[in-house]
């Protein structure tokens, strides 16, 4: 395991023993809501549900269909594809370190990991599942029935289903990237180019204004100057505030090396395209953030910035609980 283990969150094992939901020292402890403590059995149940295509209307799509572990639990397709080949309007974002996310979805529409689970389950262009039918389907599986009884001492219902899915997603974490080793004192963890990129990131390019902290996001909602599609008003859809038009969540930059494409609609397939967008100063679209302005980066500076961004990717990503 390459993740630096020391800052830890204690979680209850199903045998009421304590296990460790490990995160690096530089991370805050993983927030676990008191109403949904993490237990091994619950996480395993959630992981099983996460990968089960029976959670979709026609049994063709699971959560993992659009959140692929090998892509940092993101979707390599620009727009995620749901049941019957239906296409949504957004790219499925990474779920790594999602436990730290205060609000969920690109527009912050969901409050918690538990409530968030209902969004894709019911969305007609994602899993298009009627909740009542889903509960019946899961209840009819004896092994699920036993697992829910074991974990919750009750059968499957909205509360237990969402708690299991939430508990599993809370364990998807990473913090063992070269940048973490560099920041903990291992100077050769970053190449010379990446180190120059770090300086650019924090100064001339000013990426760190929004991509800050150990998650490389300040969790705000910004209009980063993309040409916009009228169909997606971003954060304004939630707040009904026109000032939030085309504002989207500042995403974590961790694992950008393996989680392309980028932006809420997956319009950029490479980091070069992303860097060029910001270097141009966006498109001067309606409501564009003042933070997005022409950078006038040289080709070498762009290459350095890319080298730094690649240093944010983990050697591998953890999910589930460590072995007892």
């Amino acid at each position: 395991m390459l993740v630096l283990v020391s800052g830890c969150e204690l979680v209850a094992d199903e045998g009421h023993q304590l296990a460790l939901l490990d995160v690096p020292e530089s991370f805050d402890p993983i927030p676990v809501p008191s109403h949904n403590p993490t237990t091994r059995a619950k996480v395993e149940l959630g992981e099983r549900l996460f990968s089960d295509v029976r959670l979709s209307e026609n049994g063709s799509v699971s959560c993992a269909s659009c959140h692929l572990p090998e892509h940092a639990f993101a979707d390599p397709r620009p727009l995620s594809i749901g049941v019957h080949g239906r296409t949504g309007i957004r790219n499925s974002p990474t779920l790594v370190n999602i436990a730290y996310q205060n609000l969920l979805f690109w527009d912050g529409g969901a409050f918690t990991l538990e409530s968030q689970a209902l969004g894709p389950l019911e969305n007609p262009v994602e899993m298009d599942m009627n909740l009542g039918a889903l509960l019946d389907r899961i209840s009819s599986d004896a092994s699920y029935q036993a697992a829910f009884e074991d974990v919750f001492s009750q059968g499957v219902n909205v509360l237990t289903l969402t708690q299991a899915l939430g508990a599993f997603q809370r364990t998807i974490r990473s913090g063992g990237a070269p940048i973490d080793r560099y920041l903990s004192g291992q100077e050769d963890a970053l190449s010379a180019s990446a180190r120059r990129g770090l300086i650019l990131f924090e100064n001339k390019a000013d990426c760190a204004s929004c991509h800050s902290g150990f998650l490389f996001t300040d969790q705000t909602y910004q209009n980063n100057g993309l040409t916009f599609a009228a169909a997606d008003s971003g954060r304004a859809r939630i707040t009904l505030n026109s000032d939030d038009f085309a504002n989207f969540r500042v995403p974590t930059l961790r694992n950008v090396g393996i989680s392309a494409p980028f932006m809420h609609d997956g319009r950029f397939s490479s980091l070069e395209e992303v860097i060029n967008h910001y270097d141009r100063g966006g498109t001067n679209s309606r409501g564009q953030s003042e933070l997005v302005r022409s950078l006038q980066l040289s080709d070498m500076e762009k290459a350095d910035l890319k080298a730094f961004l690649l240093s944010l990717s983990d050697d591998f990503i953890l999910s589930g609980l460590p072995d007892a």
Partner: protein, 280 residues
């Protein structure tokens, strides 16, 4: 003027007797109370398998639900009684989106008219004369910021498993949802889906019904309120494809039209003795 030595005690006795009688009259008792929220369409019963004329367009319904909360009875002497419901404490977000634990204690009703449910328990209320009642259509404040997935299934704020009562893409409850079909080609047969879903604090509305009623001891008092869905949808042109779908944020003009009609869509019809089973 001279008074006998018995005069003062006699006056006192008479005063106390009268006061005692008065006290008996004023000592109201708690009585069982229900709310019957009867759905109608232009005065006719609202049924899910029936076609109605809506401003010249044939329409039918397959969904009709509405949230009422903060139900308050207004007594003749001005006293207001907020009806309390089963108390639940659930995770929520505060105004700054910080995680909090929140207790919902007021009576919340999710009227499922598409299930034929009309009558709901209000619990105990004091007998006596009332000048009217007040309630909100929708869920206000912190109650609208709870995590619906974590609400016990027997509470009106629980995530429903048949039809959504809560946005699945955003926090907050759907205060009012009306679904059905509208005639799109003028042949008199409803064929195009319409969905009118109203939510968000901006569209929360308070309704006050100023009709006097009396809560009587010895019976279960049913406060009978009628909700006219034709009035709710009156300003919406369901022959216009642009007005067929409204999930609030995606069609603010239609949301405004419906919200503007809420207050006038309710009528307090009177008070009856309850004979029906009650729903939650």
């Amino acid at each position: 003027m001279k008074y006998s030595k018995f005069f003062l005690p006699a006056v006192l006795f008479v005063f106390l007797f009268i006061a005692g009688c008065d006290s008996d009259v004023m000592e109201d008792e708690e009585v069982m109370t229900t709310l019957r929220l009867q759905p109608v369409f232009s005065g006719q019963p609202l049924l899910m398998d029936q076609t109605y004329d809506h401003n010249g367009t044939a329409i039918s319904f397959d969904g009709a639900r509405i949230y009422l909360s903060e139900i308050t009875l207004i007594a003749e002497d001005g006293t207001e009684t907020l009806i309390e419901g089963p108390s639940i404490t659930v995770p929520a977000k505060d105004e700054n989106d910080a995680d909090v634990s929140h207790t919902v204690s007021n009576r919340v009703i999710l009227a499922k008219h598409d299930h034929g449910h009309e009558e709901y328990d209000l619990g105990m209320a004091m007998s006596g004369s009332y000048t009217g009642m007040r309630f909100k259509v929708g869920i206000d404040g912190q109650d609208n910021r709870v995590d619906a997935s974590q609400v016990p299934s027997n509470h009106a704020l629980a995530k429903q498993t048949d039809k959504n009562n809560h946005w699945n893409w955003a926090n907050g409850y759907i205060y009012l949802r009306v679904d059905g079909l509208a005639d799109s080609d003028g042949d008199g047969t409803p064929d195009a889906a319409f969905e009118t879903h109203l939510g968000k604090t901006t569209f929360l509305r308070e309704v006050e019904l100023n009709t006097a009623f009396e809560l009587t001891e010895g019976i279960t008092n049913q406060i009978h309120v009628m909700l006219d869905y034709a009035h709710l949808l009156h300003m919406v042109d369901l022959s216009d494809p642009l007005q067929l779908l409204c999930h609030t944020g995606d069609n603010i003009p239609v949301a405004q039209k419906v919200a503007g009609q809420i207050s006038g869509a309710f009528m307090l019809h009177g008070l009856h003795e309850s004979e029906h089973s009650h729903h939650d």
